[in-house]
């Protein structure tokens, strides 16, 4: 029985539509409007000119892109490895539940607690447990230029949510690898390596690349961990926005913050578009 969509059905969409318009549409509108306005509210491209001229706003962008790229690659590799190991264990096993819940916690929640844990482990000796241990066996991390407030340190902290995020993203795809495919390959005389090279890796490639893109976007828009570790002074785009919001009003810093916001939206949108293209290919295999 098919009910046609009458007027009543459309009215039912009102609460959701109004809600999204107010709580998401309005902030986005404010960002775009602010980016294109002078302090007195007149139309201008000046804010975009400012963020694209000179190194002050290029360096954070560059840092954000580099940081997101390497943490995404590291996260993708180790995340896939861990997920493969987990998928090979029986469904419903304690190990599997622990890894899956632990991944959820680190990927969605951990911002500030993660930063604290990181400081407790790798902070300057005698505070950091790991730093102190390493010093005892004769390796002084900080004498070699490491610092948890550096870009490298923050990137390392980011891998603590990048790896779990990869586990969450790639697990369904790994579960879609049919054991029958491996059996078929083996009965045709393929070695384990040949199975990986000719079947598993090509089938997994789109899902892997798609997840890699999400990880890039994940790190690119992340700020909680960096905020808790360093604050606004780290040269990353979200921190630059934070500084501009709290900065001097005279030179239209608010407008700069909004323009940087638009820049972030555009980059995230490009990444997500590529994700969708890859995803369409991935679906072909893993139905």
């Amino acid at each position: 029985m098919r009910v046609s969509a009458g007027g009543g059905a459309w009215i039912g969409m009102l609460p959701f539509s109004v809600y999204v318009l107010v709580f998401l549409g309005l902030p986005i509108y404010e960002v775009i409007r602010g980016a294109l306005s002078t302090t007195s509210g007149a139309f201008t491209f000046e804010n975009f000119k400012t963020i694209f001229s000179g190194s002050q706003y290029w360096i954070p962008l560059e840092n954000s892109v580099i940081l997101s790229a390497w943490t995404a690659v590291v996260g993708a590799i180790f995340g896939t490895w861990l997920a493969a190991a987990v998928v090979a264990s029986p469904a419903g096993s304690m190990l599997r539940r622990m890894v899956s819940s632990g991944s959820g916690v680190l990927a969605y929640f951990a911002g500030v607690p993660l930063a604290f844990a990181f400081i407790a482990a790798l902070g300057r000796a005698p505070g950091g447990v790991v730093t102190t241990l390493l010093k005892h066996i004769g390796f002084d991390l900080y004498a070699h230029g490491f610092s948890i407030t550096s870009l490298l340190g923050v990137g390392l902290a980011y891998t603590y949510f990048q790896v779990p995020m990869m586990v969450i993203l790639i697990t369904p795809a790994l579960e879609g690898l049919r054991p029958q495919w491996q059996e078929a390959a083996e009965s045709l005389g393929a070695s384990r390596l040949e199975y990986l090279r000719h079947i598993a890796i090509p089938v997994m490639a789109p899902a892997f690349i798609g997840s890699l893109l999400i990880l890039f976007g994940n790190a690119f828009s992340a700020y909680a961990t960096a905020l808790a570790l360093v604050g606004a002074s780290i040269p990353l785009i979200p921190a630059a926005i934070n500084e501009a919001i709290n900065g001097n009003v005279l030179v239209n810093q608010a407008g700069i913050a909004q323009a940087l916001g638009v820049e972030m939206i555009l980059i995230a949108a490009i990444v997500l578009t590529f994700y969708w293209l890859v995803q369409r290919r991935a679906r072909r295999w893993l139905q």
Binding site: V112, E175, N242
Partner: protein, 297 residues
Amino acid sequence: MSFGAAAGGIGAAGMLAELEEEPQPQQGRVRRRGRPRLWRVTIFVLAAIFFLGPILASIKYSLILNSGAYGIGNYTAIISNGAIRSALITSLEIAGIAAVVVVALMLPTVVLVRLRLPRLTLFMEGVTVLPIVVPPIVIAAGLAQLQSSAPEWLIKLWFNSPVTGLSFVYVVLAMPFSYRAFDTGVRAIDLRTLVDASRSLGASWFTTVTRVILPNVQTAVLGAVFLTVALCLGEVVISTILLYVTLPVELIQASQSGNAGTSVALSVLSLLFVFGLLFSLSFLAGRKRGNRTSRVI
């Protein structure tokens, strides 16, 4: 946090989607269970050291008192520290309201789209993925702008208290995974039959949604609610920019003002709490099979 909080939307959806799927037939895998292989043991050991190390370091840190001795003083101080306690209450209120709004707003909408307006499916997927494209810091920038230019009545209504200021925005951040969770849940039941049966027995739409559909998509609802709670308790970027003192904001402030021990103690507890939520979810999901009303009908 990040593509993460909102964002992981797609990921969370993956996690939740997994909960709803029929277990895969396991032939072929069973045979390999005997001896753990080296590549698996290696990554498990690496992961255990990498992930548990810092958390154990946190626990150790939280057990050291200001005097240098070991004790649980930092944990008892959570209750006696007024600032931390009130921030914790604020965050729990936000989480509670956001969780209720997520269910009240998303479930009827998903049911409506599925039942009467299937042509809007693509629109819904597009809209609910938007919070992934717009990072939290950018939403914060927009809200800060709004806060400084909005008329008085709106500021009073929306921004004056952290609870109204943040709950509704967090519902938006939760949309990527809450929509996917409800959608997966509703797809798994025979929605049309349930609704027809309920309506023909004289139930109103409200009764149908709350007493017939809701119990049938329990797992999806719990999944969405738990992840929303986790998001609300952890979100720090928007609350920092808008100068609201929520739990994570207070944790940072306390750690910088000489209460680092208490602050780390509470952060450990919050990690365990969220882990507990997600861990219990993994059991609820398994229990669900076989007792679905739609199977009976």
